[in-house]
């Protein structure tokens, strides 16, 4: 963590993330009820409503801040869960090898080639709306990528001497995996959680924008859904969608910056040749389906 702090881009990312977290988890204490009808519909920003009002006459600032609580909270939880499932399946496949590996690898590869966004839409269409369904859909469509990466890592650790020694010493497979192998992959797992959180926030906002979430809840995704449905674009009410979109982008940017710092710390090849005003290798963008 201390080393990460010394990396310039990672530091900017950490500060930005902290700001966002404080804003959406502490901020709701200071703003009013986001569902309350407080003014005329589609009022531009003013001293009474700093970011104007929505098409229903609700305060945009309150909606943006409170909306982030659900989106960011669920995004972080799902990010952790996605990596946990990926580490479990990938770890099992990489550790056990043989038939189990063949079967699990096949499963992983099938989930990788199935188109993610349409699958999410189909699943979300059948499940009842709510945070539980949303989490289930995101985990089901997101775990495979991590499982593949972690499977390869675990498989390579499996043949190391210290792992062989632990097995000979009679430790149970689960213990070997959890105590001997996974702690050695901490930075990889950390990067995976950051990536999975970015994915969980993006996909969640996208699905809710399509109207496939709980439309009664206030989230970043539903904010944008209502902005289009209340014809914000037609009336030029930019304040109904610019604040939420900016918040999503800043959160995504902060995670990307931290991930980039983590990457260049654990992979010396990336930070080797910086000079002559060379910005160095650039972070590869997270795969996403638009």
């Amino acid at each position: 963590m201390k080393v990460l702090w010394q990396h310039r881009q990672a530091r900017v990312g950490l500060i930005l993330l902290l700001v966002m977290v404080v804003l959406v988890f502490v901020g709701p204490l200071f703003v009013g009820d986001p569902d309350a009808f407080v003014g005329r519909p589609l009022d531009p920003p003013s001293t009474a409503h700093w970011l104007g009002t929505t098409g229903q006459g609700q305060d945009v600032l309150a909606q943006t801040i409170v909306g982030g609580r659900t989106t960011l909270g669920l995004g972080m939880l799902v990010g952790l869960a996605v990596v946990a499932v990926g580490a479990f399946v990938g770890g099992l496949a990489g550790y056990l090898g043989g038939r189990v590996d063949d079967l699990l690898s096949f499963l992983i590869n099938v989930f990788l080639v199935l188109p993610g966004l349409p699958l999410m839409v189909v699943l979300a269409a059948y499940l009842p709306a709510g945070p539980g369904s949303m989490a289930a859909v995101l985990i089901l469509t997101g775990w495979a990528w991590n499982a593949r990466v972690l499977r390869a890592q675990v498989a390579s650790f499996r043949r190391r001497d210290f792992v062989e020694a632990a097995i000979v010493a009679g430790e149970s497979p689960l213990r070997v995996l959890l105590v001997e192998i996974l702690p050695n992959m901490a930075s990889l797992l950390g990067g995976a959680v950051l990536g999975a959180t970015t994915y969980a926030i993006g996909a969640q906002v996208g699905l809710e924008f399509l109207g496939l979430g709980d439309l009664g809840a206030v989230t970043w995704g539903t904010n944008l859904y209502w902005a289009t449905n209340d014809s914000a674009l037609l009336t030029g009410s930019w304040w109904t969608f610019v604040p939420t979109g900016t918040c999503v982008a800043l959160t995504g940017l902060s995670l990307a910056l931290i991930n980039f710092g983590l990457d260049s710390l654990t992979n010396p090849a990336l930070s080797a040749d910086v000079g002559r005003g060379d910005p160095g290798p650039q972070p590869t963008p997270v795969r996403r389906s638009t």
Binding site: F106, N109, V110, V113, L114, P115, L117, P118, L119, V121, V122, L123, A124, A125, Y126, L127, P128, G202, V205, G206, F209, L210, G211, L212, L224, A227, T228, A232, L233, L234, G236, W238, F241, V242, G245, V248, A249, L250, G252, L253, A256, R276, G277, D278, P279, P281, Q282, P283, T284, P285, R288, S289, T290
Partner: protein, 328 residues
């Protein structure tokens, strides 16, 4: 070349199994979910249709009181024959026909955007790596990474609001103007192109960064190899080194991604089509969800999945042919 055919057979086997998994998922997901599509359909058409017509429809959709495995066999048989049932939103049009109307729009829009983004992004990426540390190399990657942090559909919304409504430069909905009738007339094509600029443009801007960075990062590696140093030592012109040596060697990862992206053309424009009301596959998919049109939803998911699988298989095949290292 020795191991080529067995490898090919293995890959083919995998994709056939994956296609089977997609088919199975498509059958079981609606049947395992709490919301029952059958009752949704019947509730909707109760009293509007003759009981005989309802029976025929449930048979087409594969809903019956038969045990699950019988239904499943029937479903596989129907899909093999290309019978995907009848759409409910566009009743009584068959699902295949509805999908057909959206297919062309999506392929043209997303295909054009993909080819343009790939060409432009790879060219800029190659140039940035060639002039490493230059103005382009310092500005383009961070700028595009910043744009990439925004949700894609949000960028599209901003484009609709700014360029569409505020400035009025582009039409903001549908694929062509309601005043022209579809056909191969000059007027219609002009209208279609005009309607495609904004959606295609936002897709290009959003995906440019990925192509650029893939190309740039591979190029940086290639430029550092002995092959390039040898070419320089031979006194070849820089232009020849760039295009004949560096770019050709750095193309493979980008080409592989391009092939995979081709498969995602059918699904990749989903959010674009929804923001712009563009009548393609993604728009149909959302219509199917909103109208609880389960036959159409299943049909679309199947078409999209098969397209992705076919493209992935084609890429695997090409990689096996082009890169001897993958044949081991």
């Amino acid at each position: 070349m020795t191991a080529f055919l067995p490898l090919l057979a293995r890959r083919l086997g995998f994709y056939l199994l994956a296609a089977f998994a997609a088919l199975t998922l498509n059958f079981f997901v609606p049947r395992m979910m709490p919301g029952d599509p059958a009752s949704a359909i019947f509730a909707r058409f109760q009293g509007k249709l003759e009981p005989a017509a309802l029976d025929a429809m449930s048979a087409a959709f594969g809903i019956s009181d038969d045990p699950l495995h019988v239904q499943y066999a029937e479903y596989l048989l129907n899909t093999a024959k290309g019978e995907l049932g009848t759409s409910l939103t566009y009743f009584p049009a068959p699902v295949t026909e509805v999908i057909g109307t959206g297919l062309l729009w999506t392929v043209v829009l997303a295909g054009t955007a993909l080819v343009l983004a790939f060409t432009l992004g790879s060219a800029i990426g190659a140039w940035a790596a060639w002039r490493r540390g230059g103005l382009l190399d310092r500005t383009a990657p961070p700028l595009l990474a910043f744009i990439g942090a925004f949700p894609y559909f949000w960028l599209a919304m901003v484009a609709v609001w700014g360029l569409g409504f505020q400035l009025g430069w582009f039409p903001v909905r549908h694929a062509y103007s309601p005043e022209v009738s579809p056909g191969w007339s000059l007027e219609f094509i002009a209208s279609a192109v005009q309607h495609a600029i904004l959606p295609a443009g936002t897709m290009i801007v959003a995906s440019l960064g990925g192509w650029l960075l893939t190309m740039r990062n591979t190029m940086v590696g290639v430029l550092d190899t002995d092959a390039i140093r040898y070419a320089q030592a031979r006194g070849l012109s820089p232009r020849r080194i760039l295009w004949h040596y560096a770019v050709r060697n750095a193309m493979l990862p980008s080409l592989t991604s391009f092939g995979m992206a081709l498969g995602f053309v059918l699904s990749g424009a989903l959010l674009t089509e929804i923001v712009f009301g563009y009548p393609g596959q993604g728009y149909l998919l959302l219509q199917a969800v909103r109208g609880q049109d389960y036959p159409l939803l299943q049909g679309l998911f199947l078409t999209i999945s098969f397209a992705v699988l076919a493209a992935n298989f084609a890429v695997d095949l090409l990689t096996l042919l082009l890169d001897p290292r993958t044949r081991r």
